[in-house]
Symmetry: C2
Subunit: 314 residues, 2 copies
């Protein structure tokens, strides 16, 4: 009896392993390329595709599967993962995939898109017999390269475990956020709060600096008081307060103005559609967008501190 | 030689002990009364005074020293501590005290006032031969009652140790923030950041709730992500997410709209005087002031979540 049970468990494990044997990964940008590579490293066969044919070929040459067409890759895949710039492109790619994928194929979107769009997409995918999830990430390009991303997953509870198995080779944490679109809600609410906290903290620190405070001492005290937050104690926007932050390397190689603005725009669009009037969200978005439009789209978002301290005057 | 040194050290210790033997405490409100009581409990003789004579008498009847006049109390005190509603009153009381206090008396203000005012006061006090400090607190009425306040002290480095000895019977932490007014800077920057973080977090959580997220799950995920902050993981504004927060007791007995508005007004006044234009600070202040003026001045400041979710609509 016991032997049989173990034997069956092993069979199931084997079946599960096979299940993850082939993945089509679409969108091989700064994030998608290393994510796909980490899937390959874990022993999965990955067919990679990108709008840029050269990138598609590069991926194939560095361990990707060799498929003649997108159609055949999707047909023979157990899962499809998308990592794309916006909802429009995700919708286009998913629609294409719907035409070729087997019923029961897992379709996972790791792009950051509006939760409202994600919900519509999930309904479509399910109506066509696919198992789907929204699974946006945090951790940036470094996280994608080091397989240390966090995935925020929105899917049916009974599908979560299987979905998370596709994702674990690319990340450290996989959160079960709830039903379809909950992953995108968590991502967008987190980043909205992050964007506001960073710019609000920057206003507070700029005031402290103007009044003559030592930034390091002020940050230490606030860091053990009620102003404690990640933007202060882990990602301090003042150069030299913490050694490893983007602010201490001229705000380079961080979370760009481009990306925080994109996330805040998604959040504000959702707020509009749900009839919420969010004054701090709007003020924060305005900071980042203005800085972005001044040619600083690649600067880390914590550069907002310098903007508040120096550029913006009454 | 060694014996003499030890003997001298003991003499100094004795002298220091005596030094704290009598304190005049001015301002016996919700904060000042229990603070003064905690000083008495620690063995210090405390003469307490309040604009309300009945309160002054109550304090005397519950262990305070019996002095005929404010003048004689101040004359015979080693330290004067003020805990008053605003800078104008502090200035008036300090000016009175200057007339009677011995040179070298310690004068400490634990009120929350503008750092700019605190600096002017400190200059006056020093020019008249007193040793002074700004030492605003965090921890609220509960902290005052339980002697668990945090003091943020601005004074000369060489005076910090002596100053902190006067304060320790009333609190758990005493921060050395730097030169005169640095205590007020730390307090006001901390509370400005707190006010913004709470209202920004509330905007993010309100959006999540509107989009259909489970507040508890959303808070848990954000709490281990980049949106992590004290307002989220310790003082969550949504009822039921954390058991012990004001939000879970109908926003009663917390940090009132009245007080957060006062602190944000001080911060905005300082920003104006230092030529900083702080958009999120202004938006946040507007939230709290509007709610306060709607008759909810005693509600905890985290009630801003309900205001954003329900009262304020496009």
């Amino acid at each position: 009896m016991k032997f049989n049970k173990t034997f069956n468990t092993n069979l199931i494990k084997l079946a599960k392993k096979n299940l993850h044997n082939r993945i089509t990964f679409i969108g091989l940008g700064n994030m998608g390329f290393p994510m796909g590579q980490n899937l390959i490293k874990s022993g999965v066969k990955v067919a990679g595709f990108d709008a840029n044919n050269q990138v598609t070929e590069n991926f194939r040459n560095s361990g990707g599967c060799n498929f003649q067409t997108f159609e055949s890759a999707v047909q023979e895949s157990d899962a499809i993962i998308t990592m794309l710039p916006n909802a429009k492109i995700v919708e286009k790619v998913w629609s294409d995939a719907f035409n070729f994928a087997k019923k029961g194929t897992y379709i996972i979107d790791s792009s950051t898109i509006s939760p409202i769009d994600a919900k519509i997409l999930a309904e479509k995918a399910q109506s066509k017999g696919f198992i789907c999830a929204d699974a946006p990430v945090s951790g940036g390009v470094m996280g994608a390269q080091n397989a240390s991303l966090s995935f925020m997953v929105g899917t049916k509870n009974e599908d979560f475990e299987k979905i998370s198995k596709f994702l674990t080779p690319m990340g450290k944490k996989v959160f079960n956020c709830g039903e379809h679109s909950s992953g995108q809600i968590a991502k967008i609410c987190n980043n909205l709060c992050l964007g506001i906290t960073m710019s609000g903290l920057s206003e507070s620190l700029a005031l402290g600096v103007k009044l003559g405070a030592d930034p390091k001492v002020l940050s230490e005290i606030m860091g053990v008081s009620t102003a404690r937050c990640w933007s202060l104690d882990t990602y301090n926007p003042i150069p030299g307060v913490l050694e490893t932050t983007p602010s201490s390397r001229d705000y380079e190689n961080g979370f760009s103005m481009e990306l925080i603005t994109k996330d805040l725009n998604i959040a504000l669009d959702c707020a509009n559609k749900t009839k919420l009037d969010l004054d701090l969200s709007k003020a924060s978005q305005k900071y980042y967008e203005t800085i972005k439009n001044e040619g600083k789209h690649n600067k880390d978002f914590s550069y907002v501190f310098q903007y508040i301290l120096n550029n913006k005057k009454i």
